[in-house]
Every structure is written in C-alpha cells, then in structure tokens.
C-alpha cells in the first residue's frame, strides 16, 4: 500500500469543496482529517486557496454584446496552397522570437486552434497535425490593429496564410475572441509547420518578415507588434 492510499488526495478535497461528495463520503474525509495532521494541514491549505481565489475578479467571459465573428468557418475559408488549421488556444507573446512589444496590460491575446474541422483543439508547439487539417488564428485586443499569419513549411518555404495575397497586413478591429478573417487548410508537405501569428498597432509590409522567416526560421517583431509562434509537427495523413 502506497503512502497515497493512506491519505486524502487533493482531488477528494476539491470534490468536497465543490460539493460533489455525498454526506457519508464528506464525513469520512473530515473524520480522517481530524485524526491525520498531514491531511488536516492539506485541507486547510486547499480551503485557504479556494477562499483566496474567490476574492479574485470574476471570470471575464466574452460579452454577448461585443461584436464577435463566430469561430469555425463563418469567416471566409481560404484554401491556400497550404492549408486549414484552426487555432484557438490563448497564448502569450513569444519572447524567443523577437520579444513582441506591447504596452503592459493593453496588448492583445492571440488564440489558436488546429485539427480536423469536427475535432478542433487548442494547440501548442510540438502538437501533431496532418495534411487536410485546418487552422484559424483569433485574438482579443482592446484597440484596433493589423495582423497576419505567417508560415514556414517542412520544405523551408515561407508564405503568408493570412492574408492569402498581397504584401499588406489585414485590419483587425478591436474586440474579444475575434477571428482572423481567413483560415487555411494544410497541404501535404510534411515536417515542421512553423506558424507565426502577428498583431501590430500599425500595418507593416509582410515581405521582410517572410524573408527573415525563410532565411533564419524566426521573425523579429517590428515595433508595436506582438508575435505568437507555434511549431506544429505535420505527419502523414490519418488512415
């Protein structure tokens, strides 16, 4: 019997605090704690943490009155030469890729999700995707800005997924949980799919960023820009 069998786990304390335990289970857990200093201390700690968390500001869920472009395919889908990854994970600027600049507390949050259209999931570097999977970038920003989604595929070629043409960043109006206006579907070039989501206070030309991405496998954030980089592992198609 391991030590864990002799004591109450955090899961059980969380269930107790969440009101999930029935009366008997609750009594048994509390009775154990009354006779076990280690568990009593742990219950105190978890309870205090719970109370401290309750004093934090309420969760900022997206406001229904806010202008919001629905995720998932309401935005125009661009079937680019590479293409569709659906991105949704809340992310932070990538300090390793140039240290995106942003004003403290006012910068954007970039969101990413990827996978088959019917099973989208948040992604981070190292996650696996397949040809035919879809990608979409999103953001939450307090001010209007401009953006792009850049990519470097397994062959080392850099291209812009968003916008799908031209050298200018697209306008991104301020808002919560907004979608970039275009999505992409991944092509069949396997290997590392290096994605860089860019949000800037002012529009910047894409050509220098793409040239740097292709030559050095990184992008330096221009002034007033925030970058989020995610390197996905693109493997052979699903069977």
């Amino acid at each position: 019997m391991s030590d864990n069998d002799l004591h109450i786990s955090d899961l059980r304390w969380d269930r107790l605090i969440g009101g999930e335990l029935d009366a008997d289970a609750r009594s048994a857990a509390l009775a154990h704690a009354s006779a076990c200093p280690r568990c009593a201390a742990r219950l105190d700690t978890v309870t205090l943490e719970s109370q401290a968390f309750a004093r934090r500001p309420p969760f900022e869920s997206p406001r229904p009155e806010a202008r919001r472009i629905p995720w998932r395919w309401s935005a125009p889908i661009v079937l680019a030469a590479a293409a569709a990854v659906f991105l949704v994970a809340r992310t932070r600027p990538d300090p390793a890729s140039g240290g995106g600049e942003r004003a403290k507390g006012t910068g954007p949050s970039l969101v990413l999700e990827a996978g088959p259209a019917d099973r989208l999931a948040p992604v981070v570097s190292g996650d696996r995707v397949h040809p035919g999977d879809s990608i979409q970038a999103g953001y939450t920003a307090a001010r209007d800005g401009f953006g792009a989604v850049l990519a470097r595929d397994g062959s080392g070629r850099a291209m812009a997924y968003v916008p799908s043409g031209g050298d200018a960043m697209i306008a991104l109006p301020a808002g919560s949980m907004q979608s970039f206006p275009e999505s992409t579907v991944l092509d069949d070039i396997l290997g590392e799919e290096d994605l860089v989501v860019v949000w800037c206070e002012a529009a910047h030309p894409l050509r220098p960023l793409l040239a740097e991405l292709e030559a050095r496998a990184e992008v330096t954030a221009p002034a007033g820009c925030t970058l989020q980089r995610v390197v996905l592992d693109k493997r052979a198609p699903r069977r």
């Binding site: 969760f59 932070r92 570097s125």
Partner: protein
Amino acid sequence: MSGVSGRLDVEALYRTYGHSVLRRARQILASEEDASDVVQEIFAGLVARPDQFDGRSSPSTFLYAVTTHACLARLRDRRNRVRLIDEQVRPWITDVDPGSAAARVAVRAVLAQLTDDEARAAVYYHLDGMSHAEISGLMGCSPRHVGNLLGRIESRLSGMKEAS
C-alpha cells in the same frame, strides 16, 4: 453545472473550481504566469465550446483531466521543456516519499520526456497524491495498469539518474 437554458455555467465552474485548476497548473508548470494562462485558456475554451463538458463525469474530474492535458501540452513546447530541464536540479531523485517536495521537483523536470499516459499518471500520483484507484478512475484503465505505468516511470527516472 448548467445555468439558464441548460447552458454550461462557466462562471460558476470558474468560481467553484478555478482554485483547483490554478493550483494544479502551478504545481505542474512551476510558473505562476503560465498557470494563470492555463486557467484563462481552459475557461475561455469552455465558453467557446461548452460541449467539451458533457456531464458524464463530475466537474472536478473533468477539470483535472483538462488541466493535466493543457499543462502537459505546454511542457511539450520545446522551449518550455528546455527551460524546465535547465532550471531543475539534477540528479534525479527516485527513492523519496512520493508526496515530498523532492519527488515533485524530480517528476516535474522529466514530465516532458514521458509518454502521455506516463506523464498523466506521474502528475496524478506524485503531484496530486492520488491513489492507484483514483488514477485508474480518471484515466479509464485498471489499477494494475496504473501500477505498471508508475513502475515504468521509476525505471525511466533511474535511467536518467544513472545517465546524469
């Protein structure tokens, strides 16, 4: 946990279980900033896709699984992995109390190098202090399989200790 019109009440989930998500993310990632990001990511994800929680498991069980997945995904990030490995002290410690701080440090440092099943079992056992039975319930496998996973982790840790 549903609100009006049967919709998932994410705010209520956040108030009731947010502390648990934050604590576990902090334990796994050893970073207050990353842990806060995981909390936001998980609950924002529930707002965007409430069907993730289908009510077949308890909210705490669901959030344990989601939190573990989100944190391990972050650890798989190569930069994060390098940072953690560099920051944690070698050699690996294996012959210690599973609930001890030393064991937590050792396990946290190698999570990114374990398979997904091993990493989840390691988190539940060493960081959450769960019994084999609780882990098997969360992972949907037998207690015996949990024992095998934990044995495999110990072997890996021993191998790393010898290699370091």
